[in-house]
């Protein structure tokens, strides 16, 4: 039953296509699997060990050891189960067991096995896009034993050591995707390689990635500031009797002046000429009083609009500078490529 569960987990991990390509062909191993499914542990054990002496594919060999691990766990032979699971981990470091569908004994043996072998597993490079120099590529992996772990990026003629540390458990790295001289890493296909070494033991895993370059988006120039609108630069003043009043005043001054300045010896002054023109002026003043006043410049609004235009001009100058800088930048996109092989 547990083997079925593990198989389901493998299906989930490897996908249907992988499963089709990696089915158990060896008849001895199939017999062992059938015996395990029938809870005939002795038969499963003998058939599984027999299968290991035959010629098996890597997948079948891992399945054979896993079957032995589950069988030993069922038989309460924990040490042997751990040994079997160690072989599974060495053959397929990415192998995991579903804790919800695996017996606690087998799960415990598997966890113990993980701590007894040096393996780098679960290397993940997140897909990310950022402006060169302003972001990082998250990389994480798990190393099962304390070891010196070196992380490199290899591709073409490029080989960059991006991290070197002594670590165990999950390790997180933030890679800025830059060359030693500070330039963004050139576009192309690379491989993130993680090597772990402790004593004579070593483990390695890798993840292919693809780096592509793009242009950085520029900022559009402003034609207005959000929330601010231009105000009318002229305004119609309220109606006023001022034109009529001034016309009367000017006409009065002219006529009174004529009367006052005229020579008494010459008789009374003639007001016919001044009166005619003055009447015209008073009439014009009266009409202008009734007429809608002409729009007058609104000084406050003019200054406000001027300030607004200056702000927009200043902001556009800043945007132009920003765009100039952005045109010199590179938008980096780093995406993991499905890997074809596992770790050793």
């Amino acid at each position: 039953m547990n083997a079925r569960v593990v198989l389901l987990a493998v299906m989930a991990l490897g996908g249907v296509a992988t499963l089709r390509a990696q089915t158990i062909q060896n008849p001895t191993l199939r017999r062992a699997q059938q015996a395990f499914d029938n809870l005939d542990y002795r038969q499963a054990l003998s058939a599984g060990q027999a299968a290991l002496r035959e010629r098996l594919t890597g997948f079948e060999r891992a399945r054979a050891y896993e079957l032995l691990g589950f069988t030993y766990s069922g038989m309460d032979s924990i040490l042997k189960a751990v040994d079997a699971f160690k072989q599974v981990v060495l053959l397929e470091p990415e192998r995991t067991l579903d804790p919800n569908r695996t017996s606690p004994k087998a799960l415990s043996a598997f966890q113990v096995a993980l701590t007894q072998v040096l393996v780098v597993r679960q290397l993940v490079v997140d897909s990310v896009a950022f402006v060169g120099g302003q972001g990082v590529v998250p990389i994480r992996y798990t190393v099962t034993q304390p070891a010196r772990v070196v992380t490199r990026v290899v591709g073409g003629s490029t080989s960059l050591r991006i991290d070197s540390t002594v670590a165990t458990g999950q390790v997180n790295i933030r890679w800025p995707a830059r060359l030693p001289n500070g330039d963004p890493i050139p576009p192309g296909n690379y491989t993130v390689v993680v090597d772990a070494t402790v004593g004579q033991n070593s483990s390695s895993t890798s993840q292919p990635i693809r780096v592509s370059h793009g242009t950085v988006d520029t900022v559009a120039h402003l034609t207005s500031l959000p929330g601010y609108t231009y105000l009318p630069e002229t305004e119609v003043p309220p109606k006023s009797w001022r034109p009529m009043g001034l016309a009367l005043v000017y006409t009065g001054i002219a006529l009174a002046g004529t009367s006052a300045l005229s020579n008494r010896d010459l008789g009374s002054a003639s007001l016919r000429e001044g009166g005619t023109i003055g009447a015209g002026i008073v009439l014009a003043g009266f009409i202008m009083t009734l007429k809608k006043p002409a729009p007058q410049p609104a000084r406050g609004n003019i200054l406000y609009n001027q300030l607004l235009r200056e702000q927009i001009t200043r902001r556009n100058a800043e945007i132009a500078q920003e765009n100039t800088r952005r045109r010199q930048q590179v938008a980096l996109t780093v995406a993991p490529v499905p890997r074809s092989g596992g770790s050793r």
Partner: protein, 214 residues
């Protein structure tokens, strides 16, 4: 008169190059008195007015020819023609105020029916915009160095002038309707050897017309 008209025509192209030029005909009507209330004339005639504006400077050139006829309340019997040139140069000072400097020259035909006179004028103008395209102006000043065809003198403050003007823009400021009023008073004195005798001259002239603006 003719020479000034020629000068006006000659100056017109220069004026056209200025910022604002307006020129047009006017109908004139006036009142003229001299020496005493018995010499009282009224009449009508034609005129022309040209206005030039350039930056803070402006100029009015007014030509008029009025046929004055004796009024019924006087003793005068002979009519005469008065041809007058009035030139005023103006400089904007501040607010509504401009300073004026110019001259007048009035010739009378027949020569001895009334006084021909010439004088330099100086004064000020106050202008106000009544509304869009409607301007009025009040001006006044003194006339210095007055010369009369019949002789006589005038003291420094004895010759005064006063004026009122209206300009209304029409047809998108291409045409201006103009109305002007001018009053002159000369406190002239003559001396035939028996002492100074007052022989004042007083004239009121109204002009209504239009002008084409360039």
């Amino acid at each position: 008169m003719r020479s000034l008209a020629c000068a006006l025509v000659a100056l017109l192209p220069v004026g056209l190059a200025a910022q604002h030029v307006a020129i047009g005909p006017q109908v004139a009507f006036g009142d003229y008195r001299e020496v005493s209330s018995d010499l009282h004339y009224r009449g009508g005639g034609i005129g022309a007015k040209a206005t030039l504006e350039w930056k803070k400077f402006s100029a009015d050139i007014v030509l008029s020819k009025v046929k004055y006829k004796p009024t019924s309340d006087g003793t005068a019997t002979t009519e005469f023609d008065a041809s007058e040139v009035d030139v005023r140069l103006r400089y904007y000072i501040t607010g509504p105020v401009s300073g004026e400097l110019g001259f007048i020259n009035r010739k009378v035909d027949p020569e001895f029916e009334a006084q021909s006179v010439g004088a330099v004028t100086a004064g000020a103008q106050m202008a106000y915009l009544l509304g869009p395209g409607v301007r009025m102006a009040l001006h006044g000043g003194l006339m210095f160095g007055a010369k009369y065809s019949g002789g006589g003198t005038t003291s420094g403050l004895g010759a005064l002038q006063l004026g009122l003007g209206l300009t209304v823009d029409a047809l998108h400021s291409r045409v201006r309707v103009t109305g002007d009023y001018g009053f002159q008073r000369f406190s002239r004195k003559t001396d035939d050897g028996s002492g100074a005798l007052p022989a004042p001259i007083q004239k009121s002239l109204g002009r209504v017309g239009f002008a084409i603006a360039f």
